[in-house]
């Protein structure tokens, strides 16, 4: 069984534990193992760069420095972690004076990093390395007729657009199609969910979420690849309903949860019950679809 060095990130051990568990289960089902990077630390999210630019590089760089002795790549599920880890390599390559500064910081803790660890998002890994063919072969319950809206958010494709387009990406669309689902055209698929402004500037961010949910009110579910997008889209639907004057009650699931359903994995591994909106309806709907052995 091939294994990947995995960077879970803070959300995956708390608000997105269902993402973490479903990702591990799906990879296991495809015969890949996710091995946690030992003693990993926070990537800095969007906060580190506000405190100190050097900190926003050095904090994720500690993880890459630790990873390089184990592997030549690291995989993550959170879009913010993906960006921050990827950004270390990008900034080191584009800004040579940064290297001695990073050396000074990491030198304090006996580490060194000068680029070289390839940073991957799980979506990228599944679509490019594992491949849609292998995924389709593992499907035991085609999600036929399930109308899904693929929501990518920002950081998995911006600014680096390593494996897909920054405005209208298709990798998740193709993956969901391989599961048998009907992918709804969704032009808002990479518009921002507001990120942490949902806590610090609620009024401003709520409009962004309303704009995202309004056109997909009738979908069977919206599919996400990022813990913060998932939370922002599902936790404020009552306020969004009031704002747009129409009821919004649409399940927001991780792409790994939907893969797990198509693989007919047990609910205990997918934890759809931990989602806040309408997972009962979704599991009942999928539960009626036939399973092949």
């Amino acid at each position: 069984m091939k294994s990947y060095t995995y960077f879970p990130g803070c959300s995956l051990e708390s608000t997105a534990s269902n993402y973490d568990h479903s990702a591990r289960a799906v990879m296991q089902a495809l015969e890949f193992d996710l091995k946690d990077l030992p003693d990993w630390n926070c990537c800095g999210a969007t906060g580190a760069d506000v405190v100190s630019h050097l900190l926003s590089i050095a904090l994720p760089a500690r993880n890459l420095a630790k990873a390089q002795s184990l592997d030549d790549q690291i995989v993550t599920t959170c879009s913010a972690c993906y960006l921050n880890l990827y950004r270390v390599n990008a900034h080191l390559a584009a800004d040579p004076p940064l290297q001695p500064k990073l050396d000074a910081v990491l030198g304090e803790i006996g580490l060194h990093y000068a680029g070289g660890v390839r940073v991957r998002h799980l979506l990228e890994l599944l679509v490019t390395d594992v491949g849609l063919k292998a995924i389709a072969q593992r499907v035991q319950r085609r999600l036929s007729g399930l109308r899904v809206a693929p929501y990518y958010g920002c950081l998995v494709v911006r600014p680096y657009a390593e494996f897909d387009g920054p405005d209208l990406p298709t990798s998740m669309d193709r993956l969901l199609t391989a599961l048998g689902a009907s992918v709804i055209p969704y032009p808002m698929k990479t518009r921002c969910c507001g990120g942490v402004l949902m806590t610090s500037q609620r009024r401003v961010a709520l409009k962004l979420v309303a704009d995202l949910l309004e056109p997909v009110r009738d979908a069977d579910c919206v599919v996400t690849v990022c813990p913060l997008c998932q939370l922002n889209l599902e936790a404020y639907q009552r306020a969004v309903s009031a704002q747009i004057g129409a009821p919004v009650h649409v399940p927001i699931v991780y792409f790994t949860q939907l893969m797990g359903m198509a693989f007919a994995l047990p609910e205990a591994q997918l934890e759809l019950n931990a989602n806040l909106v309408g997972s009962d309806r979704l599991t009942a709907q999928v539960g009626r679809m036939s399973v092949w052995a």
């Binding site: 906060g47 304090e108 402004l197 806040l276």
Partner: protein
Amino acid sequence: MPEKAFNLTREMLDHSFAESVAPDREKLLTCIQCGTCTASCPTAYAMDYTPRQLCRLVQVGLRDEALHSRTFWLCTNCYSCTIRCPRGIALTETMAAMKRLAIAENVEHEEKESVSRFYRSFMATVRHHGRNFEPENLIRYYISDPLGLIGQAPLALSMLVKGRIPLTPGKVEASDEIEAIFRTSIAMDAAEGAA
């Protein structure tokens, strides 16, 4: 908001301003004011200066006017402007640099209060454990805003019931390494006067 007229005087202009907030100053000075950034920005609707206008303030060196804007506090870091700019200007990085500068110079603003308080709460929590611990982050953030905490309580409670809020923090064992990274990075940036 309507375009604002200035009676420009020499004293109002700081020609080194672009350098202090744009890692790619040369590029920023080539801005042609096309407005692609503004058209791409999801929160431009709530800003006082649009991203295009803020870029112009930086170009000409209207430092005080720019730093007192709420614009960069409402930047969500979505990078839409950065990838679409026909001049290749990394405006998202400039927005972050302006946040740092406004904090360093204690420029007060209604939006800054809540946005920077959130970032500081988050980073204090990360410095403490090496990772985020949501209950601690929220307590740090809401300690000066108890009403806000009450407003957030129903969501926090349902997340707790769903098992999505842990009661104990995930910790980095080498906590001295995290502290060293924070201490050294912040000290080096400060010594350099970098924004």
